[in-house]
Every structure is written in C-alpha cells, then in structure tokens.
C-alpha cells in the first residue's frame, strides 16, 4: 500500500481545534496517523516524504451547494470542469443541485452524477435530489428510493417550496428516513419579477426590487412546520440579518435547523451591482451593508453553520444582456477559501471557526465521512499557503464559465495541493 508522509505541516483540524506543527501519514486512501509528535524522530526509510515547509494541512473542503450544468447545460460547465475547479479550490467533496435538465428527481439522475464523477475521478461529487417532482412544488419525489441511491438531501434548488402543505409533507416524510430538506428561502409571490434587493439602489437603477422580508418570512413559516413535524431543515444561502436572527432563535429553542451562506453575501453588497453589472446578479440578491454585517456576525457566533460556494456557472450569452434578462449566479469553487479567509484577516471570525464552516460542519449536516483530520478517515486533504497573496484572474480560473464578480480582487490564502482518497488531484503550478 502506498504511503506518503507530509511533514513540516501546520495541522489544522477545525473539528478538534487542533492547530499545531506536525506531520500526517497517508496510507492508501486513508489518513493512518497524524499529530504534532509524529515522525519526531524522523520518517522511517521507505516512506516518501513531502515537506510542506510550514504550510497548513487541512481537511478538504465540503461545498454543500454547487450547480454544475450537467446534464443539460454542458456548455456552461461539466462535472469534469467543475471537478477541476473544485480541486483547485481545495474542495474535495461537493454536492450539486438537482435543477439540471432533466431534473434529478429519479434514481437514474443520481446514478448519472455518480457515474460522471467516477469518470472525472477528481473530487467527490454528490447530489441532492428534487424534493418535488420536476421541481414543480406539488408532488413529492421518491425520497426513500433516492436516498438509497445516494441523494444527500432534498431540495427544489433555487425554487422555494412555497406551498405550506407540500412543505409540511416533504418535511414530515423526509423525517421518517432521517433525511434533510433544504429550502431556498424566498417567498416567491413577494419576490416575483424582482431583479435585485429592494431599496434606494434598485430605485435609482429602475430595477424591480426583492424585499429582504421575502427571505425571513419563508424561514419563519418553515420553522413552524419544523416544529410541527420534528424534521431536519436547512436554509440555504441566507442573505439577511433577519433570517440569521430567526435561525439563531430557532436553534435556541432546540429545533434541528441549520443554514449556510455564500461568500458573496459577506464579501459583496448591492452596491457592487454598480452600473448594471450582471456578474453581481445572484439569487437571493446581494443586500445592503447592514445585512452583510449580520451575515458576518452569524458566522462569528456560529449561527450560520456552513459556507458554500453557491457556484453557478453562466456563459456570456446569459450575462451579456440587460440586467433584468440576465441569469443569476456566480462561480465560486476556486474563490471559496480566500474569500472565507477575508473574514479571518479582518478579525471578524477565528481561523478554526471559519475553516469549520468549510469542513466538519457541512460534513456533519450532510452525514459525510469527511471534513476532519482523523486516523482512519479518507485522506481528503488541502494544503494551503495561508499567507499567499494573489489576485483572482478569471482567465486563469478552471471553471468553464467565467462569471466571477471577484475578478481582479486581491486575496490572501491559496490552495497549493489537493488530495482525494490519498491521491493528489491538484498541485498549484508555480509558473
């Protein structure tokens, strides 16, 4: 069995709070040993050694919200190109949304993703299945069968499950299998036609606004249904302070509720739309500065469990059009880490809690054996130069689509090597 010793590393394991110089031994596909004292007396002969020169060695990131475009929109992204982007971003596991064409609402869809991921053979690609058939919000999908086939959770992707009775049944049915329901929390009737956050900027630009209240009202309704059913519930990409506060209170009441946000909700605001920049069009929309700060606060106090890239590739034809015709979404797999680290560099969130939101906490929500440095765990690892300054260059991003609003942004912290099951799937080209 192949063995590799990673020495002279800064071991960072958010799950246990470990932050110490040390070494880690990969044996085959798993971590066989690690610790500050490992190889204190030198690495035994015959084990290849990788000297990390003091770089951080972390569990690979678990990105719990990614849109890929395959099947159906392979011109925007394929599982292979998304996997390359993920590997370059230190993401060793990602979960894709079911709003593909065809919709992933049957076992064949889940199996298709698994097969394409095996062929790409880079990172671990999982899928959520549609909560309702064809994402129509009416009839439930075959949740039990889909879960057996490997679906990690159930969601109608970027559509809210808006009918209260359907949501109640989805939660209640999923709870019998212990499955997770993930909501896009936005009251669709209130958000209808909206292009950006409602407010002064939308008024000046003449764009229809989506009020912030559309988010919290859906979450508050859902929390009542969670109480009614006792189910697990996850609110995706929260963007407002009110939503964070509602979830904070729900957690205090002991509800089994979790949530995530995406880097653009703490790294950008609605002012980044500027003069109709369609790369800043996302769903839910970018909010104002007060909400951005509330998201940071939610991450700092742990109310927000996870940071997901919310990667959504869009080609030029989808973005080089008037704002209200433009598709929403940004790519984010390769910028997930450095944007998260901005929170750390700004002194808002500690390093380990910030990394926990990328690793052990999403893994725990999803029930994945991932996101930890632990003996016997799969060797899904990211080597990170935490101090490396670099500039995001969309031309250099590996994603097939280039819709990054962060192009040109100076950032700190770069993934230099990524391993999945002990196999190196990415090494930073130091050209």
């Amino acid at each position: 069995m192949s063995r590799t010793a990673f020495v002279n590393a800064r071991l960072l394991d958010p799950a246990t709070g470990l932050d110490a110089p040390g070494a880690l031994l990969v044996e085959g596909e798993a971590i066989s040993d690690l610790g500050p004292g490992l190889f204190a007396g030198g690495v035994p002969d015959g084990i290849p050694v990788v000297d990390l020169g003091g770089q951080a060695l972390l569990p690979g990131f678990v990105d719990m919200r990614v849109s890929i475009g395959e099947p159906g929109e392979e011109h925007k992204e394929t599982i292979l190109t998304a996997s390359r982007a993920a590997a370059a971003g230190g993401v060793t596991a990602m979960v894709c949304l079911p709003d593909t064409d065809p919709v992933i609402d049957d076992v064949a869809g889940i199996e298709f993703i698994a097969r394409r991921a095996r062929e790409a053979k880079l990172v671990k690609v999982y899928a959520y299945a549609a909560a309702t058939q064809s994402l129509q919000g009416r009839e439930l999908s075959e949740m039990g069968l889909l879960a057996e086939a490997g679906a990690l959770g159930f969601t109608d992707a970027n559509r809210a499950i808006s009918d209260a009775l359907v949501m109640r049944r989805a939660l209640s049915y999923a709870s019998t299998f212990g499955l997770l329901v993930i909501q896009h929390p936005e009251e669709p009737s209130l958000a209808a036609g909206g292009q950006m956050n409602a407010g002064e900027i939308a008024t000046r630009l003449g764009l229809a606004g989506i009020p912030r209240e559309a988010e919290v009202m859906m979450i508050e309704r859902d929390l009542r249904l969670v109480e009614l059913t006792g189910a697990r519930y996850h609110a995706a990409h929260v963007s407002t302070g009110a939503a964070v506060e509602a979830i904070r209170q729900a957690k205090r009441r002991g509800l089994r509720v979790t949530c995530d946000t995406a880097p653009h909700y703490f790294a950008l605001t609605e002012t980044d739309i500027g003069d109709y920049r369609t790369f800043a069009k996302v769903s839910p929309p970018l909010r104002g500065e007060m909400d951005r700060r509330a998201i940071v606060e939610g991450l700092a106090d742990g109310t927000i469990d996870a940071i997901a890239s919310d990667h959504r590739p869009q080609d030029q034809d989808s973005k080089r059009v008037p704002f209200s015709s433009a598709a929403h979404g940004v790519i984010g797999l390769e910028t997930l880490l450095p944007l998260t680290l901005e929170l750390v560099h700004n002194g808002r969130v500690g390093l380990l809690p910030a990394l926990a939101a990328l690793t052990c906490r999403p893994a725990e929500i999803l029930g994945l054996e991932a996101g930890r440095l632990r003996k016997g765990a799969p060797a899904d690892l990211a080597v990170v130069d935490l101090d490396r300054l670099w500039r995001v260059d969309k031309a250099a991003l590996r994603s097939k689509s280039k819709n990054s609003p962060f192009d040109g942004r100076p950032v700190t912290g770069r993934v230099t090597r990524t391993l999945v099951d002990g196999r190196t799937v990415f090494t930073l080209d130091e050209a």
């Binding site: 209808a192 003449g206 008037p322 704002f323 209200s324």
Partner: protein, 317 residues
C-alpha cells in the same frame, strides 16, 4: 457679476442619464435649446450643422412622439436620420442586443438614439459602440431628454427652476420620466415632492431627495408645477390600484385638487395622456394651465441641442 456663458458640453460622449449631471452642465444645454426654439419657429427650420452625419433611431419599444421628435431634431440639423424599430429588425430573430449594437456600429453612425424596455439596456449598448448614444428611455430607469425638455418648459414659463415647488404625481414606480426629473430638478435647485398611492412608490424614493405624499390635496399645496404621469399599465405585474375609477377619484388631477396649488401653477404631462385616468380632460386642454403642447414643441429643440453637443464629436479611429 454674471458668469461668462458656458459652451454646452456633457461629461461623457453619451447621454444615458440625468443622474450625475450638474447645473453647470444642464444650464448651457438649456441655453442652447432656447436658440433652437427660435430656429424651429421660423418658416425655414433647417440648418446644416449635422450635414453628412447619420443619426439612427433604434427603438425596441413602441413610441410615436419621442421617435418623431428625435427624427425631426436630426433632420432640422441636416442629419440623415434612419428609424429602426425592433419589430423590423433582427432582434425578433434572436439577435442579441450586443450583436445589434456591433452591427449598427459597423455602419458608422454618428449618434444612436435608443429606447429599450429594460433598465440599463442602453448603457450596455453604449459600451459597445464608438458613436454617441442618447438614451431615449430605458425601462424604468431614465428618460433624460424628457427631463431636459420639461426643465426648458418650466424655465421659459417661470423664468427659473431654482426655488420652485414641483409635484410629480401618479405612477412613480414605473416611471423613468419621474426618475430623470427628480435628478434634474434637484440638480437645478427646485424642491420636489412625489404624490401617489404607496403601491406606486419605489422603495426608499425619499433617498433621492424628495418629499413623499399620498394625498393630492396635501401634496399639491402651494406648488408651482404639477407633473402628471401616465398610469403605465403595460409595465405592471399584478394589480397596483383597485380600479381606474378609484384611482382617478383620489389621484386624478382635476380643478378641485388643483385648487390648493398656487394660482399660477402649471400642469405638465409627458404624454400620452389617459384622459379621465390621471387627468381631467377639460383641465388637460385648459390653455391657461396646461403646457403639455409646449412640452412637445420644446422637446424637438432640446433634442436638437443634445444632438448638437453629442453627434458632432470626432470618432477616434
């Protein structure tokens, strides 16, 4: 001391919005337009200022008065004016806005006048062409030449804009005219109030520097200018007012509501009017109060001034 007259100039080679313009830029443009009013009243209305220049009117949205006004403006300056409407162009065949822009750009026009149903579309197109682009109205964003012609109308009737109380009434939410007028009137030192039902008010409109009223009898008190807006049912998604009858009852302008305004208050409307919806028919025709036809006349002069400033620039190779 009177400042020396400024030559009209704009900060950009395009006119996409009023937001960002200052009184120092607007005033010389209005002065220039004043001169064109005189030219347009002569039997011989045509000059040769833009001879050999090409102006393309590119309208993705139906329009009669704005397109005609720009067409006349171009022709009276001696330019060749081509009208293109979306129904006749390849847009219907799936060509993107940027393709259209690139295609027209290759025809070497000197100015493009663009109207589009989506906010920001004119700016998107302007970024892709070398000639001057004049916003003829984009979605619910801006309609800069309308605000300029309104300002010229006010200035000619009242002798000034600064210090006047202006009420903009009705469907503010869907109105690009309201937005351009708010920016322009604020830049020129007028006091602006907006009046309408809360359902037709954009979020945080007060941040644009206006007072917000929901009652005509209170909002119109002592105002010098009453600008009525058309109820833009074609842009509405869903119901914003319960009925036309109710709307007219509370927000339609009639003599009774106008009584609280100053006795010499002027009534303006960007047209086309919905008589009996936002304005009483008799009042609209009252030559002592309504300056709606002045607005149409001065619109041509203002557009001539804008073309004068923008369509004559030398295009970089």
């Amino acid at each position: 001391m009177e400042p020396a007259p400024r030559r009209a100039a704009l900060p950009s080679r395009h006119l996409l919005a009023i937001q960002g313009l200052t009184a120092a830029e607007i005033t010389p443009l209005l002065d220039l337009a004043d001169g064109y009013v005189e030219q347009n009243r002569r039997p011989e209305k045509k000059s040769a200022l833009l001879r050999g220049r090409t102006v393309i009117n590119l309208f993705f949205e139906n329009s009669t008065r704005t397109r005609t006004s720009f067409e006349l403006a171009g022709k009276r300056l001696g330019a060749d004016v081509i009208n293109m409407s979306a129904s006749a162009s390849s847009v219907k065949k799936g060509e993107t806005l940027i393709d259209t822009a690139m295609t027209l750009n290759a025809m070497q026009p000197d100015a493009l006048v663009v109207r589009h149903p989506e906010s920001g579309a004119v700016k998107l197109l302007a970024d892709k062409v070398r000639c001057a682009v004049i916003n003829g109205g984009d979605g619910t964003h801006e309609h800069p030449t309308q605000a300029l012609l309104d300002a010229l109308t006010i200035r000619r009737r009242k002798g000034r804009i600064e210090g006047l109380q202006v009420a903009i009434c009705g469907d503010i939410l869907h109105s690009r005219v309201a937005r351009s007028n708010i920016h322009l009137l604020n830049a020129m030192g007028a006091r602006v109030r907006v009046i309408g039902p809360p359902t037709l008010m954009p979020t945080d409109i007060d941040r644009l520097g206006v007072d917000v009223h929901h009652d005509m009898r209170r909002g119109l008190r002592d105002c010098d200018i009453v600008m009525m807006l058309r109820l833009q049912t074609e842009r509405m998604q869903g119901q914003f007012v319960p009925s036309i009858r109710e709307y007219f009852h509370f927000f339609g302008l009639d003599y009774a509501k106008l009584a609280v305004a100053r006795p010499d208050a002027l009534i303006m409307h960007p047209g086309p009017m919905n008589r009996g919806v936002e304005i009483d028919s008799e009042l609209a025709d009252d030559i002592d109060r309504s300056v709606i036809l002045d607005q149409v006349e001065l619109g041509v002069a203002v557009r001539m001034a804008v073309l004068d400033v923008l369509a004559r620039h030398e295009v970089a190779p």
